[in-house]
Amino acid sequence: MKIKKNHPIVIFLVVAGLLIFLHFLGILRPLENILIGIAKPVSGRLYNWSSGLNSSYRERRTKEDLSAKIAFLESEAARLTVANSQCREILEENEKLRATLNFLDDNGFQAVEAAVIAKESAAADSRDLVINRGIKDGLRTGLGVINETGVIIGQVQEVKDNIASICLTINPGCRLAASIQNQSRTQGITDGDLGLTIKMEYIPQLEKIAAGDTVITSGLGGKIPRGLVIGQVAQVHNESNEVWQSATIEPIVDLDNLTVVSVIIP
């Protein structure tokens, strides 16, 4: 194949070869300097323009990055708040369990720890708790249930294989054999009153009871040990023409915020 003299490849090879050769000889340097001198103002302006473009782009990107970072940190803060609240819950639960263990050790009770898993409203004025222990754990009806400080909060009402229902002391129908810590150690039966307080009725008129007296379990019946605090006498209903007097007892613990309880096995 014959390549013509004016073929583009030939022209290129000759011109480019000449340019490279002259460059390495240094002959082309003046021309290069002139061309650079001509291009300098243009290149300077182009560079400044691109720098401005670059900096504005970076500024915008920085804002976008910051916005993204803020969004990330906000989501992270929300996540950590959730984690923190979970930790607090666990801490609280741990404290309650430790307190329960201490109470049980101090009093020599045998108990089954249970977690409250549900609240069940059988009636408008009562709210039963459902715990995660049942017959398989040795639970049976009538057993006393205490909180972490050892205050009795109710008794086992119904039991299934793995769960049990607890009636709170304030629920109507939740009857406990009780004793008032006064001089005569008045005995009686407590019952829940409208899901708010506890009442103790059929107390002989001769018994001297006063507001502030502590009410404890009497231990009669055998299923609940003696000495567990039920509450304190808030009001005494004493009419001279009545045969019996009654007392309103207020529980000393918050029964709406129970998470961990213990069922005492006698």
């Binding site: 583009p8 340019l19 182009l46 323009w49």
Partner: protein
């Protein structure tokens, strides 16, 4: 005659501006945008529409400008661009038969890939103490990907712009006239 001188001057000034702009402006743009290889795109555009002879001159002009401003060995751009144009011309003549957008896209994509490989190979062997081979460098493949993407985008824009300005790229349909 005067028109031809005017066209040649415009051709030279335009190519010089693009070459200078490539090294001073585009190279200074943010990371993703500085991958645009305006010189190569324009050269392929020249090859596609003006032919090999005009493109050879374009390579000489732009390659010379790039070599003046570059700190690589003198002639790197000249040689690389010429080899790319030579290969692109062979592909265009042998494989691509029409002047459609797809041919242009394919040509520009292949040219971008070939350009990067030739440039890196020549650059690799021209330095005294070469670093690790470009093929194992992540930045090479990233630049190649960005540059290819930009080349395709620019090619689409340029082709459509040209189609608006000239009738040469308009599709031609043979109409069969029916006589009622």
């Amino acid at each position: 005659m005067f028109k031809r001188i005017w066209q040649t001057a415009l051709f030279v000034i335009g190519l010089s501006l693009i070459a200078v702009g490539q090294l001073t402006a585009i190279a200074n743009w943010p990371s993703f945008f500085n991958s645009i290889n305006a010189v190569l795109i324009v050269l392929i555009f020249c090859l596609f529409f003006l032919g090999f002879r005009a493109t050879t001159w374009a390579v000489l002009i732009s390659g010379f400008w790039l070599d003046i401003f570059s700190f690589n060995f003198f002639g790197l751009y000249l040689i690389t661009l010429f080899l790319v144009i030579l290969i692109a011309d062979r592909i265009s003549v042998s494989l691509l038969t029409n002047r459609s957008l797809y041919s242009f896209l394919l040509l520009i994509l292949v040219s971008t890939i070939i350009y990067n490989f030739i440039f890196q190979i020549l650059g690799y062997f021209s330095v005294d103490t070469p670093s690790s081979l470009f093929l194992v460098q992540k930045s090479f493949w990233l630049t190649l990907a960005y540059q290819s993407a930009w080349s395709v985008v620019c090619a689409v824009l340029m082709f459509n712009l040209s189609a608006l300005l000239t009738r040469r790229l308009q599709p031609f349909f043979l109409e069969k006239k029916t006589i009622l």
